[in-house]
């Protein structure tokens, strides 16, 4: 009599396409939880969302131009970041305003390219919201590489990122390579965004890279707690979202996003009440 509920939990993951989705969730949760901790601490959540969205025109152009999607997405992310740096150079625009301005521009350019130039049709949905149920081997290898990168960079650069974020003015005197560390953090984030695109699309990269760690941030009292909590929550939300999506016949990316939002709201409410 205890077998049936266990079967109900496990059965959805017996099909090959769900097993691939599960593997992707595990790998992307490691990358998302670890990079997400630094995103939350360094107040890069909006930037991360914007970089994800900015890859949309690159993804639209990729197939017609014969460019690999990750390369086109990375190119678009770099162009976006360079444009942002240029807008902020003279100090007349606030960072959030410039980020939003370019985000809208990227989305608009992507829409025009998809609708009027390349007539991308139904493929646009997949570019914007991803599909965990149709991942290629390349997608999984990329997710694995970024998970490894997140582990290595947190181990080797975590102290630099912590000292620089905590006290930007004093970090240089502590002997940590602050500027190099910042560039490597932004580069790692861009790669994590690109690796998340096949699973959750250009509009939902925050689902894995921001929301779990933002939730863990509400609870964590230490860096270790934040890092492990972010990975744990990303895993839990990813697996539960996948299970719910399969049972309710929903797209997995949006299901995980909604679940993440609900968990964040619940934790925030409980924390406020206590």
């Amino acid at each position: 009599m205890f077998v049936a509920p266990v079967d109900a939990l496990v059965d959805p993951f017996t099909t090959p396409y769900m097993q691939r989705a599960l593997l992707a969730v595990v790998l992307l949760s490691v990358a998302g939880g670890l990079f997400g901790a630094w995103i939350a601490l360094r107040r890069l959540a909006f930037f991360t969302h914007a970089v994800g969205t900015a890859t949309f025109p690159g993804l639209v152009v990729a197939a017609p131009a014969g460019i690999a999607a990750p390369v086109a997405a990375m190119g678009a992310a770099l162009i976006y970041t360079a444009g942002l740096a240029r807008l902020l150079r003279d100090g007349r625009l606030r960072a959030d305003a410039a980020t939003g301005l370019l985000l809208v521009a990227a989305l608009a350019i992507g829409s025009i390219l998809a609708g009027d130039v390349f007539a991308s049709g139904a493929g646009v949905d997949r570019l914007l919201f991803g599909t965990l149920l149709g991942l290629s081997d390349t997608d999984l290898w990329l997710a694995g590489a970024v998970a490894l990168l997140a582990l290595l960079s947190t181990a080797l650069l975590g102290r630099t990122w912590l000292a620089t974020g905590f006290d930007p003015g004093g970090a240089g005197a502590l002997g940590v390579p602050s500027r190099l560390g910042d560039w490597l953090l932004l580069g790692g984030l861009a790669l994590a965004v690109v690796a998340s695109l096949p699973a959750v699309g250009a509009l939902l990269v925050s689902t894995l890279l921001v929301v779990p760690s933002a939730t863990a941030r509400l609870l964590a009292g230490s860096m270790r707690g934040l890092l492990l909590g972010g990975v744990g929550l990303a895993l839990a939300e990813g697996i539960c979202g996948l299970w719910l999506a399969d049972g309710a016949n929903l797209p997995p990316g949006p299901a995980i996003a909604v679940l993440g939002g609900v968990v964040f709201a619940a934790v925030a409410l409980v924390r406020e009440a206590t």
Binding site: A155, R159, F166, G170, L174, G175
Partner: protein, 245 residues
Amino acid sequence: MSLVEVSGIVTGYTPGRPALSGVTFSLDAGEAVAVLGPNGGGKTTLLRLLLGELPVMAGTCAVEGSPAYVAQAGRARLDFPVSALDVVLMGAYARTPAWRRLGRGERERARAVLDRVGLAPQAGTRFGALSGGQRQRVLIARALLQDAALLLLDEPFTGVDRASEAGLLAILDELRAEGRGLLVSTHDIDHARRWDKVLCLNGAQIAFGAPADALTAQALHATYGEELVTLGEETVAVHSHHDHG
């Protein structure tokens, strides 16, 4: 032993646009020098130069070893999930290879310097939950863990109540007595008077010497200009914001 030798220095943030010029002074081991000036007068610029973060546009600048920098506690992120001990341990980052964990020895040393600044019981307390004076002491403990011969303190008394200020001054006196050099930026003339020497800055060097010689009415007027209010025999420098210059 001279820890700092600066002669005719010109420095700044933008090529061709000096933010500070004509500065000549020295600081010996066991000596404390106050850097006095208004907001934007060049105090933080001088500290950044000594840290090697700004270029020497003209003149010469020699600094013994790697100085430790004690930032204003208010500029650190109070929402970070780091304890007082975590912050102090940052002082050991430079000598610990990135691929190695901070060892037990470093943790014991960190606890010892926290004890020295009177915060051993607060080792596990979140940095943001400490008072302003306690945070400043944690940052001094971090500099002590760096084991630097020279400490550069940027407005260490900003946001610190009187009781904590007395505790901080006692710690700084101890450090000076054990042979460390202190360069303390301040906008407070009373604080400047208690150190061995005073360097008055306002975009350029106004005066340098023992407090009795450097803090003349003329030098203070040149340093603070319109911001200076004179009350009888006492002179008070009025400021509106924390220093960023």
